[in-house]
């Protein structure tokens, strides 16, 4: 680890700290339908949208109507994306003349993936998707799935803030305002910034370049014979990348335009573009903590939650950075030290232009949030370094978190923390004046149950059946980590891949598809039920006897609950995966 590396990490956290308040205030105003400086431009568009779609913007929804609207919208969007992939050959903007996305389970998987804000990619973008599918299908979902997440978080915050009310807002209005006010303007600016760094934005066919030095490539054919070919030409993929790149991070989607994602020089060419992307990932999640404080009238609570997130972030990045900078113990005879000429540490699967610090930081940030963009291969991290992203997702990605999803995921933990704390101080637990009762605990536990249910059950099935194990490229504990990571990434709607697992198979496409849908919608419904229930409740004024949710003690308790729930659920699986691999590595065995 270097001072320079730490300065970069802390500068990044400092920027997130600075953006929290302005972003939070702005979102609070947008969703309270107060005036903002963008209204002159956006209000007419918004009104037009409502007129065309017949939405009554003053209609307020109960949680059930909110949930049904959200589900209907998601189902229809998902179907459209599925059909778009299957009919790709007949649609415009397809200079590479890509046919339908096959097989069907891949199209299903991808439709589920983008609808759920996961952006798990069992395909390679530049070899599968036309520009039309990328722009009208995938990028569209990048916007609306992010907007849906923000809407849901706002609905939950309203549930806490409102008193004795039946409703939690209007889904359509929240969706539209998320897109128009929050996502679009920032993406326009962000995309231009990325273009300035060299991210491409065009609709051209792929370029061909003649290699200065032709390469001999050996491939083993299906018949087992080794064939040597000489490659003289390289295809350089093109496309409308910048516009998709910024929403990929800003909406914590993570689906790369190219297969190499943010490690690709056209997606993330410079250290500055890397910082812009990192910054975009955390902006909304951090801002929502301020929005929470502002809308519920307890700004210090918002900061207490922010602090819990920041501490967990620092813990993750410290472990990842330490593990990766430490290098590989089996290469003790090799120079792995940091010098002016090399990054040192474990550089396998990392981009030289990012080095150890920025790769570890990116891996931590992308899994703290449910982004899933990557700028290095998590599979090639050291066992402990690779465990950080895995554990981040297992903790439900509540460290700033996916746009909206991180906030409402965190609030579920808050409900549980407050419940335990309330009992320990001898009162019926209260959260910001709302009593936490059996119904809320029941729904919170349903949310918490989704993760172990889908992750552990599917990983278990895959680890002892041929249809699961045949996809593994590395044996032993590393193979188990690969399966575990895939389902964890799916359930967490993260979308990053550990790699080392052939996932475009009927089994994995289908089960990961289902995992993503469960990880999104099975959590949202009980979460909205809590919001609706809280909104109805009477406000109980706080007293000295009420456990305050604004103090460092609360922050510590919240962190404790997050770690304990996560650790207790996944420790056995982790001990046979990355922990065992780490111990074996020290003993000289690799996989």
């Amino acid at each position: 680890m270097t001072v320079n590396g730490w300065i970069q990490i802390l500068v990044f956290l400092g920027l997130i700290f600075l953006v929290t308040k302005p972003m939070g205030v702005f979102m609070a105003r947008v969703f309270s339908r107060e005036k903002t400086f963008m209204d002159p431009v956006l209000r007419p568009i918004e009104r037009l949208l409502y007129r065309v779609t017949g939405v009554d913007e003053n209609h307020e929804m109960r949680w059930t109507e909110y949930a049904v609207s959200m589900l209907l919208f998601s189902v229809v969007s998902m179907l459209v994306l599925y059909l778009m992939q299957r009919l790709q050959g007949f649609l415009p903007f397809n200079p590479q003349k890509f046919g339908a996305v096959t097989p069907e389970h891949l199209a299903f998987n991808t439709a589920a993936s983008f609808t759920t804000n996961t952006n798990w990619q069992a395909y390679a973008g530049e070899a599968t998707m036309s520009y039309f599918t990328q722009m009208a299908g995938l990028a569209y979902h990048n916007f609306v799935s992010a907007a849906t997440g923000i809407a849901l978080a706002i609905a939950f915050i309203r549930g806490i803030a409102r008193r004795q009310m039946q409703t939690i807002g209007n889904f359509w209005v929240d969706l539209v305002r998320s897109c128009l006010w929050v996502l679009l303007p920032f993406c326009v600016v962000g995309a231009l910034l990325l273009v300035s760094q060299g991210v491409v934005q065009n609709l051209r066919p792929y370029d061909k370049a003649t290699l200065v030095q032709p390469q001999q490539v050996q491939t083993t054919g299906a018949d087992g014979k080794t064939v040597t070919t000489t490659v003289t030409e390289q295809t350089i993929a093109q496309g409308p990348v910048a516009s998709q790149e910024i929403i990929k991070e800003f909406g914590t989607n993570g689906g790369g335009f190219f297969n190499a994602n943010s490690a690709h020089p056209f997606e993330n060419p410079t250290p500055l573009s890397n910082l812009i992307e990192l910054f975009a990932i955390f902006t909304i999640g951090a801002g929502l903590t301020y929005t929470l404080g502002r809308m519920t009238g307890s700004q210090r609570h918002g900061w207490a939650v922010w602090t819990a997130m920041a501490i967990l972030f620092l813990a993750g990045v410290t472990v990842a950075y330490w593990a990766e900078a430490g290098g590989n113990p089996l290469l003790a005879n090799t120079n792995q030290r940091v010098t002016a000429l090399q990054s040192g540490g474990n550089m396998e699967g990392k981009e030289v232009r990012f080095g150890i610090a920025n790769s570890a930081l990116f891996a931590t940030v992308t899994t703290d949030a449910s982004c899933g963009a990557i700028n290095g291969w998590h599979d090639s991290f050291t066992p402990l370094g690779g465990m950080v992203p895995l554990v981040n997702i297992m903790l439900s990605e509540v460290i700033f978190g996916g746009v909206g999803a991180g906030m409402y995921g965190m609030l579920i933990y808050v409900v549980l923390a407050v419940f335990i704390a309330g009992l320990m101080v001898g009162r019926t637990p209260e959260y910001l004046g709302k009593k936490i009762e059996a119904y809320d605990v029941k729904m919170a536990m349903l949310v918490v149950l989704v993760f172990p249910l889908v992750i552990l059950v599917f990983t278990a099935l895959s680890s002892v059946n041929g249809f699961g194990t045949s996809s593994i490229l590395n044996p032993g504990p590393h193979g188990l980590s690969e399966i575990l990571y895939a389902f964890t990434s799916g359930a967490g709607n993260n979308g990053s891949a550990f790699g080392g697992l052939t996932v475009n198979t009927p089994w994995y496409d289908t089960t990961i598809g289902l995992t993503m849908l469960a990880g999104r919608f099975l959590m949202i419904i009980p979460m909205l039920a809590i919001a609706g229930n809280l909104a109805q409740k009477k406000y109980v004024p706080p007293s000295l006897g009420t456990f305050p949710v604004t103090t460092p003690l609360f922050t510590v308790l919240l962190i404790g609950v997050i770690l304990i729930v996560g650790a207790l659920t996944f420790f056995p699986a982790l001990s046979l995966g990355p922990i065992l691999e780490h111990l074996l590595l020290a003993a000289g065995r690799t996989f």
Binding site: L423, L456, V457, A460, S463, P548, L568, L580
Partner: protein
């Protein structure tokens, strides 16, 4: 009796509890407790597999036995809690023994009927040394009654017709005189019946927070079930499949058996603690509500101040000597048997050396206090002495053409402003001076109110006094607020108003006119001496009729929740150590490197698993006293309380099992058990 602490381990109770623990193995009963039900199923599975034979019989047998012990220990904890109540119920049952009642028929004749035949509305006559056959309201008579069967208090109490002391309880005994009583309860519904049911826990329903906690525990159990069931495929993948015994052991160690096993014991013990304080809660819900109370309404008289005002000084009018004033004051009070009257005589004697005089020698005529005149006094030897409230006396004087002298007027105001009650004494239509009656605030009240404030509870003093007086006493006693010149309606409005702000209100009351407010309050504690109406309206009855007890009730309510929260935290924190014991034990055979996780240095994989299981079972027994007594409650703010409990039960919960499992491991390897 109230403060007498019962020993936790009473042999009679323990014996019965052991037997009950076995009976509670009935799966139908276990189903109410999902955590322990899972343990029981696990025990059944391992028992069945035990008989199938296989290797490691000694280890498997020990695991199986300890799993059964885990279930039994939890049952035992519950049985212990119930046992304490049952012992109390037995005593109460003796009081309920069949008696013969003298029922008065409509035609005036009496007939003898067994007490169990009495219905509500019957009228009975009870004479000295007879038992009162059932609950009722006194129609006629005054008697001293021995209520020790219910309250444990051996001093007899006076019960009389009319007023707020007219209710009697079945099973108590008339010591002197007689009572004509109208029965108000049907057989099986009497106070004693309800009390027996309550202390036995027969009617115990889960309280709202207990239900919520149960859901949390059930959820955690499912999570751990998933974690353990899926561990086997991972183990197979890793080439190290596990036996069912080890997997069940891991599951039982992980699921929150400590709190799951003690949860109902905590609830029963909480109710029992109230009974120890001679308070009967009609529902567990009321006890929990007590812990949540934001506002306490306390009657001034009897709660904050000693029941009665006492004369503190005599202020004479101009031209009247102190001796003249004291003489008149004493004379006016000699026949006044109220505590205030007596205190005037005492003051006259102590301060002015006036001794009690035998008025029989004189032709004295006493004028009793009436609600109309609001004066009392004496006519003697041509002197007409009166004392009474300011307005009453000034009306009496003005009827005869004189008024209150200015100096008297100002003395009255000074006294009122200081929180005292002025009584004006007049002789032959001339004001002699003012008696200063003072409220005496009970010792230690200020501290208690400070404690309540630290707990975040606001205290409101309710009094019929004028605002000036009320403010002065409120200041002296240290209450947060007061309601002066309170009518029953004012009280009601105050409660409604607090509740509208989302606050929970507790109050005590005894009179019939308190009944609506008692019913409206979230926690209404009726005094046992109070009327039947008050007792029915409240959700708790204080057998000692001590209004200050409300504070203890609040503490018990809080303690109940805290004990649950603390043991839940402890239980979950324990899992960390158990993972470090069992996971390396499971896989170190295949992967010796995993011994790095065996940070306790446990001897063998078998001893590690066994130690964790034994610890898990024994900790239930070890915590029974804590569950029954409740965690220590100290009045302090929530943040300080949480910090303290997190240290003890959260951090302690992580550390204790590391030490405990290591110790057990050392013992069982030494003993050759594993």
């Amino acid at each position: 009796m109230a403060k007498k602490k019962k020993a936790i381990w009473e042999w009679k109770i323990v014996g019965r509890a052991i037997w009950d623990a076995l009976l509670k193995l009935n799966p139908h009963k276990m189903m109410g407790n999902p955590v322990m039900f899972v343990v029981e199923i696990g025990s059944v599975i391992t028992t069945a597999l035990l008989f199938k034979g296989g290797s490691a019989f000694k280890f498997n047998l020990q695991i199986t036995l300890w799993l059964w012990f885990t279930v039994l220990f939890a049952n035992f904890a519950e049985a212990m809690a119930e046992g304490r109540g049952k012992a109390q119920a037995d005593t109460l049952r003796k009081a309920r023994a069949e008696t013969i009642a003298n029922r008065i028929l409509p035609d005036g004749k009496t007939e003898q009927v067994p007490s169990s035949k009495l219905r509500s509305g019957d009228v009975v006559m009870v004479s000295a040394s007879e038992f009162i056959p059932s609950d009722g309201e006194i129609l006629e008579g005054v008697a001293s009654v021995d209520e020790s069967a219910i309250t444990g208090e051996s001093a007899p109490v006076i019960r009389e017709a009319g007023g707020d002391r007219s209710a009697v309880t079945g099973g108590t005994r008339v010591l002197s005189d007689w009572l004509k009583i109208k029965i108000t309860s049907n057989p099986g519904e009497t106070f004693l019946d309800r009390m027996i049911a309550l202390v036995e826990g027969a009617e115990r329903q889960k309280t709202p927070n207990e239900i919520a906690l149960n859901i949390l525990l059930a959820g955690l159990t499912i999570i751990f079930l998933l974690a353990v069931v899926t561990l086997q495929p991972f183990a197979i993948y890793s080439g190290s499949p596990q036996t069912v015994f080890v997997l069940v052991s891991l599951l039982v160690c992980l699921i929150p058996t400590t709190i799951g096993g003690l949860l109902s014991a905590i609830g029963i013990a909480g109710m029992d603690r109230l009974v120890q304080h001679n308070v009967l809660a009609m529902s567990g819900r009321a006890v929990e509500a007590a812990g949540d109370v934001n506002t306490l309404l306390l009657d001034k008289t009897g709660t904050i101040t000693l029941g009665n005002r006492q004369a503190a000084e005599f202020v004479s009018a101009p031209g009247i000597t102190a001796a003249q004033m004291a003489d008149a004051a004493q004379l006016s009070s000699l026949a006044d048997e109220t505590p205030e009257g007596r205190s005037i005589v005492v003051l006259a004697k102590e301060r002015y050396g006036l001794r009690g005089r035998d008025l029989a020698a004189h032709e004295a005529q006493f004028i009793p206090f009436t609600a109309q005149t609001r004066m009392s006094g004496v006519n003697l030897d041509g002197r007409e002495i009166r004392k009474g409230a300011v307005d009453a006396i000034s009306k009496y004087l003005s009827e005869h053409g004189t008024g209150l002298p200015k100096e008297v007027q100002s003395a009255v105001e000074t006294i009122a402003r200081s929180g005292g009650t002025p009584l004006v004494v007049a002789e032959n239509r001339r004001a002699l001076g003012v008696i200063h009656l003072k409220d005496i605030v009970k010792g230690g009240m200020k501290d208690r109110f400070d404690q309540l404030r630290a707990m975040g509870i606001k205290t409101v003093m309710i009094t019929g006094d004028n605002p000036l007086t009320a403010a002065a006493i409120a200041r002296e006693a240290g209450v947060d607020d007061f309601l002066a010149e309170a009518t029953p309606k004012d009280k009601m409005d105050l409660i409604r108003n607090e509740q509208k702000q989302g606050k929970l209100v507790a109050m005590t009351g005894d009179g019939t006119n308190d009944a609506p407010a008692l019913a409206q309050a979230d926690v209404g504690v009726a005094m046992n001496t109070g009327t039947q109406a008050a007792k029915e309206a409240g959700n708790m009855v204080d057998l000692d009729s001590n209004p200050t007890k409300l504070i203890e009730v609040v503490e018990i309510g809080k303690q109940l929740l805290m004990t649950r929260g603390a043991l839940t935290t402890f239980s979950i924190s324990n899992d960390v150590a158990k993972y470090f014991a069992i996971i390396p034990a499971m896989f170190a055979g295949t992967f010796p490197v995993l011994n790095a996780l065996n940070i306790m240095g446990l001897q063998t994989p078998q001893s590690a698993v066994l130690s964790a299981v034994i610890f898990n079972a024994l900790i239930i027994i070890a915590l029974i006293p804590l569950a029954l007594r409740g965690v220590k409650y100290r009045p302090m703010g929530a943040a300080a309380l949480l910090r303290r409990n997190l240290w003890i039960y959260g951090f302690g919960g992580i550390v204790v099992p590391f030490v405990g499992i290591k110790l057990i491991d050392m013992v069982i390897t030494r003993a050759g058990m594993a």
